[in-house]
Symmetry: C2
Subunit: 219 residues, 2 copies
């Protein structure tokens, strides 16, 4: 689990005098606000239609603050991806840290999974990352690497839990984690388009059905 090299974005100007810690804190806070605003804006409008001015304004700034912290739209998009993957991984870590019993862990995962399937922003952002990868060959590898990090982390967890329960997966653990995530997002999107064609109850039902089919997975 290597720490992502921040490198590209937010390379601070290497002036002789180092910024004082209060200034650093202020900058960090601005960065966080901008990233949060970007998260909401990208989810709402999509990458292409998202305007830097909207992102800055939503964070309470103008584009000046934006360009002081990021190079371009693509730069903040990737910064968001890094942060987002790290957050999601740590969420699951925290979740598992709460339980020792494998069955409790599986239960917690299932519950967490059901919650993920209700997070509109999560689904739309995730989609946006994937679409960007598919449409930008030069960035594909980078996106894929992050996505894979996330998936293999999820896969590891699934595999460990299953092993300690003495069960096996019908497909590779990474594929299982991938399919579960993608499925929940897809169902949510359908619900957003037409809630009457796929109700909350039906989604819950399908999610359970699919989770059990993949995780119990006798064939």
């Amino acid at each position: 689990m290597n720490i992502p090299s921040i490198a590209s974005s937010a390379r601070r100007k290497n002036t002789a005098t180092l910024a004082t810690s209060r200034q650093q804190a202020r900058t960090a806070a601005t960065r966080r606000k901008l990233l949060l605003a970007a998260e909401q804006t990208f989810a709402r409008d999509g990458y292409e239609a998202a305007r830097l001015e909207d992102i800055a304004a939503r964070a309470g700034y103008t584009r000046g603050a934006f360009y002081a912290n990021f190079d371009s739209k693509e730069d903040i998009f990737f910064a968001l991806l890094e942060q987002w993957v790290a957050q999601r991984i740590s969420e699951v870590d925290v979740l598992l840290g709460r339980h020792d019993n494998p069955q409790q862990r599986l239960r917690a995962l299932r519950e967490h999974y059901a919650q993920i399937a209700q997070d509109r922003r999560l689904a739309l952002l995730s989609l946006e990352f994937k679409l960007f990868a598919v449409r930008h060959p030069e960035a594909h590898a980078r996106l894929r690497a992050r996505q894979r990090g996330l998936r293999s982390c999820g896969g590891d967890i699934l595999r460990r839990v299953m092993r300690s329960l003495g069960r096996s997966l019908p497909i590779s653990s990474v594929a299982a984690a991938t399919a579960l995530g993608a499925f929940s997002h897809a169902m949510l999107l359908e619900h957003l388009v037409d809630s009457s064609s796929l109700s909350d109850a039906e989604i819950r039902h399908l999610l359970g059905l699919f989770f059990d089919a993949v995780v119990v997975g006798e064939r």
Copy 2:
């Protein structure tokens, strides 16, 4: 099954003399070429990033031809949606027309389903339509209506086939059709992002698993 009122797009100039049939045919041909080009371009670049000039060029024209046939990007996008829904419905109609036996029909549907899950353009376009709906409140109702037409058509077919087999669905037929479509597209997208995290074989496996879980659906 009402024929969509073309109305908005392609309203021909009401000059006194009606265009001769050969001119009409020529116009219709360019419209078709433009729609095909738009289909490819929207799937490749997404709605926002797609340029009218690219669409026209891909069809072998310039933007002049485009504006002679469509009002705007949104106009051709909706025209494409109408055509696309109609095509997909007729595909299934043709498919079912080939078989009388309910079991053969179910088999044919399953096979058709597996093929759909390999059509990259289909998945990306479908996604694009849904994202547009979610992001453009004023257009949402229109998109949703078409989407629902497609889903309820698929649902009807599923329901009829199941009834003639004496089986039942675990969820509403519309929800089943919706979930199946969304699922296959979601798996394909994951595969496009990272083919190693979800192989063709695994997708086929999952598709079968899910199809059977939904269509056989004992609970």
